[in-house]
């Protein structure tokens, strides 16, 4: 029994970063965030006997996290994947060919906190699923196949969402710096 408890503690420690990433990206500052995260771990322990070793245990916990958040968002009928055309168009138009090209140099001077804040601001234009996918791929360095296992989306869809999310974020970044420069 002590061994099981130790294993469960390890499971929590090894997955809480990934769970937090998914919950924060899917729900943002939603008031139910804490309750939902607790629910994810309660489900994890309850359904542990159903784990069939088809994937890594962390992927399985991430799967529970993603579907729990998705169900919650669907319950509140929140927009999950649609990037509003207006945003995309307005951002697309600012794809300024005249930008001087010193974005990275300027950003080098910023602290990680400042960069995080900029990214946070830019990410608000993205729907929850896109935000989550981008984080899983670029921050958590998961493969497209692992993301497919977590989200249940086909590989092609994962790639497509990643492509669109990167594009929107890139345009927002260019827009942000062109505004700063003005």
């Amino acid at each position: 029994m002590d061994g099981d408890r130790h294993a469960a503690t390890l499971l929590v420690r090894r997955t809480e970063k990934l769970v937090a990433q998914i919950v924060f990206k899917m729900l943002g500052n939603h008031p139910d965030r804490k309750d939902l995260t607790q629910d994810i771990y309660l489900k994890t322990f309850r359904y542990l006997p159903r784990f069939r070793f088809q994937c890594k245990l962390s992927t399985w916990v991430a799967q529970i996290s993603y579907t729990t958040c998705l169900d919650h968002l669907q319950k509140y009928r929140l927009e999950l994947i649609t990037i509003s055309t207006g945003d995309e168009l307005s951002l697309g138009n600012t794809c300024s060919q005249e930008i001087s090209g010193d974005i990275p140099d300027a950003s080098q001077l910023l602290s990680i906190k400042e960069r995080s804040e900029i990214l946070e601001k830019l990410s608000t234009t993205l729907p929850p699923v896109y935000r989550t996918l981008i984080t899983l791929f670029h921050k958590e360095e998961l493969s497209v196949e692992e993301i497919r296992d977590i989200t249940g989306l086909p590989v092609g869809t994962v790639k497509n969402y990643l492509f669109r999310a990167r594009k929107v974020l890139k345009e927002s970044l260019l827009n942000h710096y062109s505004k700063e420069d003005l």
Partner: protein, 148 residues
């Protein structure tokens, strides 16, 4: 210089991998517009990589229930019981054969030695395959649990 600008996919891929066709590299060297786009993607990727990881606002460890359900121990238990039984049976048969060799040697009279050898090799081979499979399943489970 290749006058066609890089498309969005090429820009994204190049910013991630740094690998692309020589003609694309040639274009990039001379095109300020595409350079800005690549830089923008690279900056974006670095922002995401360096972004602070959110921290749960409670201690998730406290949610671990007092009575934890077991993870599929039944499956592996069954397999180990089966192999235990199999090896026990083989051991008993071998011991019996050694002790009662005088009484049972008539069974093997008339069977040529190479047939016995082939039978033994086949049986051992099958046993090895089964054992390998059991070991692989065990490794797979261990990997999944260790979240390697």
């Amino acid at each position: 210089m290749n006058q066609v600008h890089l498309n969005e996919e090429q820009l994204q891929d190049y910013a991630i991998t740094g690998i692309t066709d020589p003609s694309v590299v040639q274009h990039l060297t001379g095109c300020a517009r595409c350079q800005v786009q690549v830089k923008a993607y690279q900056t974006l990727y670095s922002y995401i990589r360096e972004a602070k990881t959110p921290i749960l606002d409670f201690k998730a460890e406290e949610l671990i229930p007092d009575r934890l359900p077991a993870i599929n121990k039944e499956d592996s238990k069954e397999a180990w019981y089966l192999y235990g039984f199999l090896f026990g049976a083989i051991g008993l048969l071998t011991a019996g054969a050694v002790v009662f060799w005088g009484s049972i040697r008539w069974i093997f009279t008339g069977i040529v030695p190479w047939a016995i050898i082939i039978g033994f090799v086949l049986f051992s081979g099958l046993l090895m395959v089964q054992l390998m499979e059991l070991y692989n399943t065990y490794r797979k489970k261990l990997r999944a649990l260790n979240m390697e």
